[in-house]
């Protein structure tokens, strides 16, 4: 792991643990002057070539879905997906042309929630069950979601999934450390915010054997994501919509 | 009549804001125009009623016997053991106030003690004090108060400002019937000889002569013969009226006002015409020459004493069943008390219309049928030849009299008749008819002159609804089926709705009835010219 990132994650975790217990007014802990989250801007860079070299991407998907109790639905049209493979055509159809490199055209593209800078799903949600955290994570509150699915309608990237039925029946081995969802709520990638507080990288990033996924803080000029974005040309999905996705693709 | 000076718009300026002071401290002022004269000693004596005296309610001293409170409490105790209505209604009122603006006296006067709930509370407050533990201990806090002379005066004042019309009872969630309470209140007052002349004089008359007006048998016969002659003149058909004759099928009983008073008289002509036309085998009785029963406004005992003569006379004359004329409180007694008090009428037969064969199962026990049921059945079976255009000079609306309305539910029969004997019939607004009908304001023995202001106030809701139909439809006659209505509505309407006439259902029947062998009629039963149909007028021209 990148050392600087590690330090950062550790700091964040420690601060998180030490943060003010909201219940107890007489808590001894000190309240930090401002939330550290505001200084961060998490982003992910995916190197598609490396992805394709690594093989079928199933490892990172499995890691994510296992960590978050994402069920495997029987019906494809009810699939719950936090991170998954798509064709180049469906991911970047506005940037596709007949003369595209064949490997790129046919190889898989890993997609997930883009944690947009300007997320339309957040704008439409009528109950603030989804919102953008200070560190850029587009977060969800499954306790509050009323299941109206407006966010799915508003998301240009198909990143959100709805629990059309009870997901628990479709979980082979539920994982106790992370809650499942109940039927009737929307869910999606949370950028492993629960892992970040514990000084861990997102599950998919950690799992990728080819190191195709790079995670980091755009707020830090020396972060590896900044390095990559500086040195390599990257694509983002549907840039014309002004959503400012924070998942970047190196083609 | 000091109230005569008040113009309708002045009388209608009513303040509904209750006084700031509570109602528990009695303070009744016998203002002229609001109360009836006290009963004279003679009538009380004639009827063997207690404590006759020369007395007026406005007197300071009511000449009460020293043990008067004890008499009242004994009377209450006795009635609490006899009438479940009384006991239950004393106990369960929650004072929700739904009854408040249902009372015509409250609407017309704004006097908060005319709200049915408070009228009953006048009695309840004493009941609580004497008969409930809570009242004995908690006193005013639970609405209990001591009986004293002021309270007694208040009782008198307000129990003779209730016409026992039962309108409030329709809306009460527990069915509390203020009429029952007023009746108890009046019975208690009677124990002290406190009654009103307008009730007691008819009582004594009725007891003696068989009718309220005190008409003796020969006067009764004269008047029926006169009516028969007049009808013969009007129709050209010779008519005879049987009286006190044995061996007929039916005894006909109607209120005595029908023989003398106007506009009752025209209804009588209607009956006579109808009975003649269908060849009814019937007789009048001079002894049972009164269907009405002022006992209802006095006491249960007096109801029974006066009512007894009807079955007795039916038995004596050997009739099969009894037919009753248009009257309100008469029907309340016949419907609700007669069979229980003076029955069983097992010497009579199941009433059956001799013309249509219809068996009146709804009168299977009392054996007494309402004339409108009888006539409606005749019309339904096509037994009458009717010319509705003979009522074209009338635009009628119908007043459901409280008693046939809320004690029987007699709504459709008269309407059915009216729609077939006339062409212009209109209803009053729906909140003022049928079971929601408003009282004439003068029922239950209050139809006298000295309390005219109160009668006009109490009659305001009825008159106002009539005015509505007069203004919107041009109605010119108010039809009713009650002798008290026919007597008291004319002055009421003259005051509030000038130009309205009052008539009876069978007056209209008599007008429209085409009789065998009749001459061409050019007047109605009142002698007023008929309106010729436009075509005939043209032809004549």
């Amino acid at each position: 792991m990148d050392r600087r990132l590690f330090v950062k994650l550790t700091g964040l975790g420690a601060l998180g643990l030490a943060a003010r217990p909201a219940l107890d007014l007489f808590a001894a802990a000190e309240i930090p002057a401002h939330s550290p989250l505001a200084q961060r801007r998490w982003a992910m860079v995916m190197d598609l070539r490396k992805c394709q070299e690594a093989g079928d991407c199933e490892v990172c998907i499995a890691a994510c879905h296992q960590a978050h109790n994402v069920p495997k639905m029987d019906r494809p049209d009810e699939e719950i997906k936090w991170v998954w493979k798509e064709s180049f055509h469906h991911t970047f159809h506005d940037q596709e042309h007949p003369y595209l490199d064949e490997q790129l055209r046919h190889g898989p593209v890993l997609v997930t929630c883009n944690h947009c800078e300007n997320p339309p799903c957040v704008r439409v949600c009528p109950t603030q069950a989804t919102w953008k955290r200070d560190d850029g994570i587009v977060m969800m509150d499954w306790h509050r979601c009323i299941g109206c699915r407006y966010c799915i309608v508003g998301c240009p990237y198909g990143s959100r999934s709805f629990n059309w039925q009870d997901p628990r029946k479709h979980l082979a081995e539920p994982h106790k450390d992370f809650p499942t969802r109940t039927k009737g709520v929307v869910e999606k990638c949370t950028l492993c915010e629960e892992r970040l507080t514990r000084n861990q990288l997102p599950a998919c990033v950690e799992a990728c054997p080819a190191g195709a996924l790079v995670f980091g803080d755009l707020g830090d000029p020396d972060s590896p994501v900044r390095e990559l974005l500086k040195s390599r040309y990257t694509l983002r999905r549907k840039p014309n919509l002004g959503t400012q996705p924070q998942v970047y693709y190196i083609v | 009549m000091s109230q005569g000076k008040l113009k309708p718009e002045e009388l209608a300026r009513i303040n509904y804001q209750p006084p700031a002071k509570g109602w528990m401290d009695p303070d009744v002022e016998f203002r002229k125009g609001t109360w009836c004269y006290g009963a004279v000693p003679d009538t009380l004596k004639y009827l063997d009623l207690p404590l006759p005296k020369k007395w007026q309610p406005s007197d300071a001293d009511w000449q009460l016997p020293p043990n008067w409170k004890q008499i009242i409490f004994e009377g209450m105790r006795e009635r609490l053991q006899r009438f479940r209505t009384f006991k239950v209604f004393m106990d369960i009122c929650v004072r929700c106030g739904a009854c408040a603006d249902k009372c015509h006296f409250y609407i017309g006067s704004g006097d908060p003690k005319n709200m049915p709930v408070l009228r009953a509370e006048l009695l309840r407050s004493v009941y609580r004090r004497e008969f409930t533990k809570a009242g004995k201990i908690m006193g005013k806090m639970v609405g209990a108060r001591d009986l004293d002379e002021k309270v007694l005066k208040e009782w008198f004042y307000y129990f003779y400002q209730c016409t026992e019309c039962r309108r409030c009872s329709v809306y009460c969630p527990y069915g509390i019937d203020t009429a029952e309470i007023t009746m108890m209140g009046r019975e208690l007052l009677n124990l002290l000889g406190l009654s009103i002349e307008w009730v007691n004089t008819p009582l004594a008359n009725c007891f003696r002569t068989g009718n309220h007006l005190g008409i003796q048998p020969h006067g009764f016969k004269d008047s029926l013969d006169f009516a028969a002659d007049e009808l013969s003149d009007l129709t050209g058909v010779p008519i005879k009226v049987p009286i006190n004759e044995k061996g007929h099928e039916i005894l006909f009983v109607t209120p005595s006002a029908d023989y003398f008073a106007s506009p009752h008289y025209f209804t009588l002509l209607g009956y006579l015409a109808l009975f003649h036309e269908i060849g009814l085998d019937y007789t009048f009785s001079s002894f049972a020459s009164e269907g009405g029963n002022f006992g209802l406004f006095h006491s249960h005992e007096m109801i029974k004493r006066l009512n007894a003569k009807i079955y007795a006379e039916a038995r004596r004359l050997g009739v099969k069943w009894i037919l009753g004329g248009e009257c309100g409180h008469m029907w309340r007694v016949l419907h609700q008390y007669m069979d229980t008090m003076n029955g069983p009428a097992d010497f009579l037969q199941m009433p059956k219309s001799p013309l249509t064969g219809t068996v009146f199962n709804n009168a299977a026990s009392t054996k007494m049928v309402h004339i409108s049921e009888f006539t409606a059945d005749l019309i339904r079976h096509g037994k009458l030849k009717l010319d509705p255009s003979r009522n074209d000079h009338w635009k009628a609306t119908f007043h459901d009299s409280c008693n046939p309305a809320r004690c029987m539910g007699l709504f459709e029969e008269p309407r059915y008749i009216m729609r077939r004997v006339m062409n212009h019939y209109y209803e009053m607004p729906e909140d003022t008819i049928r079971e929601q009908t408003f009282c004439c304001g003068s029922g239950s023995g209050l139809g006298t002159d000295e309390n005219m202001e109160n009668r006009l106030r109490g009659g305001l809701p009825r008159a106002n609804a009539v005015k509505h139909v007069r203004d919107s439809k041009g109605a010119n006659i108010l039809i009713c089926m009650c002798a008290i209505d026919k007597a008291t509505l004319p002055p009421l309407l003259e005051y509030w709705v000038p130009g309205m006439e009052v008539g009876g259902v069978h007056e209209l029947v008599g007008n429209a009835l085409v009789m065998k062998g009749e001459k061409e009629r050019d007047t109605d039963l009142r002698g007023q010219p008929l309106v010729k149909p436009a075509k005939e007028v043209q032809d004549a021209a």
């Binding site: - | 063997d48 009438f83 329709v170 229980t340 029955g343 709804n362 339904r380």
Partner: protein, 336 residues
């Protein structure tokens, strides 16, 4: 003043157990008081009903709320003016379950003219209905404290009542309805001059008492939590005649229990007996079949009447002169 007095009494009924239970003696507040209250309630209620039942109904005087049963071709109003037993049962059911008579309520307005106008006025009906049904559901919900295991129907009612996930613990719709309806009924008594005029302390008191019961219940649910398991142990103990007094049940509970005990003790001696009385109202629970079937008055007694014989005796002369038939030919005095 009447309102102030009621308020004072209710405050007293709160203060007594609050101070008392704080001082201890939970066996008294938790066992003696409720048992005594229940006994008084059952005995008092029975006595009141029997007291009414012993009094006869001499006459059948139902209020006709619609067309009578007469001729076959006229449609009679079977529920508003019943003539049969089933019709009467229907009428009573409508009255008790739907407050049929109150549903008729109107409000009169006097305008210039004069013109009287009658407006439909259903607020009292709606509030009364809401109040009584909410109260019933709240009462039924409490069965979860009375029996163990909790019956399934109680869980079902509770689930429906708390269907909408608002607040934690979840808000019961009937709690809100009950408080709202009590507020309406109280507000009406205080603000409507006419109703204020007819109200006694005895009218404010039960409303305030019920409001206090509801408020203490709500407070326990949301703010001053008590040990509910202890509450249930106490309640089940009481209701299986094996009273136990668990430790640590909060004082708020004893206030609630005392208020409920006060209510049921008060009930048989107050207007709240309309609970039983509504079944016994002769204007509603009798069929309007007076002319069809004879009703017997058990205390019917003979009265002094004027007989035809006396009548003919008095008017013999004039009747004869008028040519009316006579029963007795009196020996005519000799013609002079």
């Amino acid at each position: 003043m009447t309102f102030g007095f009621s308020l004072f009494v209710v405050a007293l009924l709160i203060a007594i157990p609050a101070l008392g239970a704080a001082a201890g003696g939970h066996a008294f507040w938790g066992v003696v008081i409720p048992y005594a209250a229940l006994a008084i309630f059952l005995a008092g209620f029975t006595a009141r009903i029997l007291g009414w039942a012993r009094v006869p109904v001499p006459f059948r005087i139902p209020t006709a709320g619609g067309q009578q049963k007469s001729l076959d071709w006229i449609k009679s109003s079977r529920l508003d003016n019943p003539h049969s037993a089933w019709g009467t049962i229907g009428r009573m059911a409508l009255e008790i379950l739907c407050f049929r008579s109150l549903f008729r309520n109107t409000r009169v307005e006097l305008r210039e003219g004069p013109k009287l106008a009658y407006g439909s006025s259903k607020w009292l009906w709606a509030a009364a209905l809401a109040f009584h049904y909410a109260f019933l559901v709240v009462f039924l919900r409490h069965f979860k404290y009375f029996v163990e295991p909790t019956p399934a129907w109680v869980t079902a009612i509770q689930g429906l009542d708390g269907f909408f996930q608002v607040g934690l613990p979840v808000l019961y719709v009937t709690d809100a309805l009950l408080l709202g309806a009590v507020a309406f009924l109280l507000g009406r008594r205080l603000l409507d001059a006419r109703v204020r005029y007819i109200s006694h302390a005895a009218d404010y008191f039960p409303l305030l008492l019920i409001a206090a019961i509801a408020v203490t219940g709500v407070l326990m649910r949301y703010f001053f939590k008590v040990d509910l398991l202890g509450v249930k142990q106490l309640a089940v103990g009481l209701l299986s005649l094996q009273p136990v007094v668990p430790e640590g049940v909060g004082a708020m509970f004893f206030v609630h229990l005392f208020l409920v005990s006060s209510l049921i003790v008060y009930l048989p001696f107050s207007k709240l007996m309309h609970l039983g009385g509504v079944f016994l109202s002769p204007t509603r629970n009798l069929p309007n079949d007076n002319r069809m079937r004879r009703h017997v008055n058990p205390w019917n007694y003979p009265v002094k009447v004027h007989t035809y014989e006396e009548y003919e005796e008095e008017f013999h002369e004039v009747m004869k002169a008028a040519g009316l038939p006579l029963d007795k030919e009196k020996s005519c005095p000799k013609a002079s």
